[in-house]
Symmetry: C2
Subunit: 339 residues, 2 copies
């Protein structure tokens, strides 16, 4: 493996000092303009690439962000990443992406590694295990390091930190309210994994909305699922014994699972059971029937996170909590024809 070309190699070629080459390549005005051009040309020709590692060491900034995510294989997470890249690529930043698979141990390990790598900030969506076990020392540790830490999507209970989240509570409220307005009176909820804030907030929004409209909460109309369509099959089956006339699912995938079960029982959607999901994945409108959903602007979460980071390194001191408004998208799965 041939060694990459260094500034010294070029200096030897031109019989001058490395510092001259450095200046020339950085367009330093002190260097003779012609010498500059010649050197720059030569450098590109032989394929010289600055070693940014040495610069990181020197400048104490790596121009790299750490991103820790519980998973990657959902539209929501990958959209967040795309949103971040959109803003950060032009700003010269690279992303170190780490998938924890909801494991606390991996989250810790990645956190340490990112710190060791001297990333300029860490953007994190906490793993379920971290919530479950309530083991936050790695988080507190990072905070005490004065390493910018931005919570994306899933928030962390602590005095004002930097966070960019969607208002899951409000989104759930909107979804439930819509079902009520469509005439549903026995609204079931496919509850996400316990302990995850996202699940809790959506459940809370659902509950509070029922209460506001003075509808009773039936515990038998609650079923737990993970975030997959698969997990919703059994859960929906169990709900079917209790005649729901509406279902609010913790995300769109579980609604796809529920719809399959409902169709197979020859129950009509939305006439007999109306459905609303969450996330508004691209396939939601291609469900049968097209699935109503709460959009949480996944891409925007990524963009806002990136902008928040840029503001921070630009000297912004105070921490900021950004909460994005969810948007209810109404499609056939919930359009009961009522007066």
């Amino acid at each position: 493996m041939s060694q990459p070309i260094s500034i010294k190699d070029i200096a030897r070629k031109f019989k001058c000092a490395p510092s001259t080459i450095s200046r020339a390549l950085n367009d330093h005005p002190a260097i003779n303009i012609e010498t500059r051009k010649t050197i720059q040309e030569y450098a590109t020709r032989i394929g010289y690439q600055k070693n940014t590692i040495s610069l990181s060491l020197l400048n104490k900034q790596s121009k790299t962000l750490g991103v820790i995510l519980p998973t990657m294989a959902h539209f929501h997470e990958s959209s967040m990443v795309e949103g971040m890249e959109k803003i950060l690529q032009p700003a010269g930043y690279l992303l170190n992406i780490c998938v924890t698979n909801e494991s606390h141990a991996l989250e810790r390990a990645y956190m340490d590694r990112l710190v060791a790598n001297r990333v300029d900030a860490i953007c994190i969506s906490l793993s379920q295990e971290t919530y479950d076990k309530n083991r936050n020392d790695h988080i507190d540790h990072a905070i005490s390091r004065a390493l910018p830490l931005i919570f994306m999507d899933r928030f962390y209970h602590a005095q004002n930190l930097d966070q960019v989240i969607t208002d899951d509570y409000q989104g759930a409220f909107l979804a439930t309210e819509h079902l009520i307005q469509m005439g549903c009176r026995r609204i079931a909820h496919l509850h996400g994994p316990k302990g995850i804030t996202v699940s809790q907030q959506r459940f809370k929004g659902y509950l509070d909305c029922l209460q506001k409209y003075q509808l009773p909460f039936y515990p038998e109309l609650l079923a737990h699922v993970s975030f997959s369509a698969d997990s919703a099959v059994e859960a929906t089956m169990s709900l079917m014994d209790h005649q729901p006339d509406g279902i609010f699912g913790v995300n769109d995938e579980v609604c796809f699972g529920a719809m399959k079960v409902i169709r197979e029982k020859n129950i009509r959607i939305p006439e007999e059971i109306a459905l609303v999901g969450f996330d508004d994945i691209p396939l939601a409108q291609f469900a049968y029937p097209p699935l109503s959903s709460v959009s949480r602007q996944s891409r925007k979460i990524g963009e806002e996170t990136a902008l928040l980071f840029l503001a921070k390194i630009d000297g912004q001191q105070e921490n900021k909590q950004i909460s994005l408004e969810p948007q209810l998208i109404i499609r056939e799965s919930s359009k009961k024809r009522i007066i």
Copy 2:
């Protein structure tokens, strides 16, 4: 922003040389076992984290891989990444993920940046524009640098390089053959974006299969789509004028789009039109009716890429082409009841 603790700080504390601290932290046998323990304990207590940047500079390896992808928001790509992480995290590698959005310019920019960052290898899934414009100098340049370069998923036409791909041709052949065996005689194809190898290979598999079974190829049964469900709507509409009795879609998303159009025309699936997609995304089995699909083991592509990289840095010289077998998953969307 408080400076991170360095080995020098610890040395000052213990009134000894930095090298002693370095040795102690690395469990060097020469150091008194007790001193070692004391120093290690102290280091963890005050939250010392080795600066891996300086190590990268020293060892000329960054323990980081560059991953360049055209997009991130599809099951296939994000699964590949998850597969890579699964293998590479335990091996101590971090991933620099770059999304090109199918843009050649971004691909170049990212490539340069990754080289400048001295990543230990680059795993790339080429952008459409790179194929279209046939501008490969950035690729050739990387190759000439002796920087390990692994082509994932979308391959590069050149003498034996390292590549991990799925046999798209065979997958398409299987899908088409299955439709023929189900009695389809006028099989339409939703052709992916022009120029992309994946699209071309699938089209070729479809064509060759028709030929093998001596079925004519009807140009009017070909429609072009991007990889989204949305793009398939118009394309499928245009196909409907030509009475296809089967559709092979370039991926599952476009089949979701096609199915919506077909359902709205009250045409029965699979009786009148049978469908087969590609990728076997998790939602395929929750389509209405459940969608047959060719699985291309996305996660495994990532795993194999990671393993190939590990083998390479372990000294394996020859380049390797790994082609993963696609698997046809038959569901209701293509199960015509025939004798």
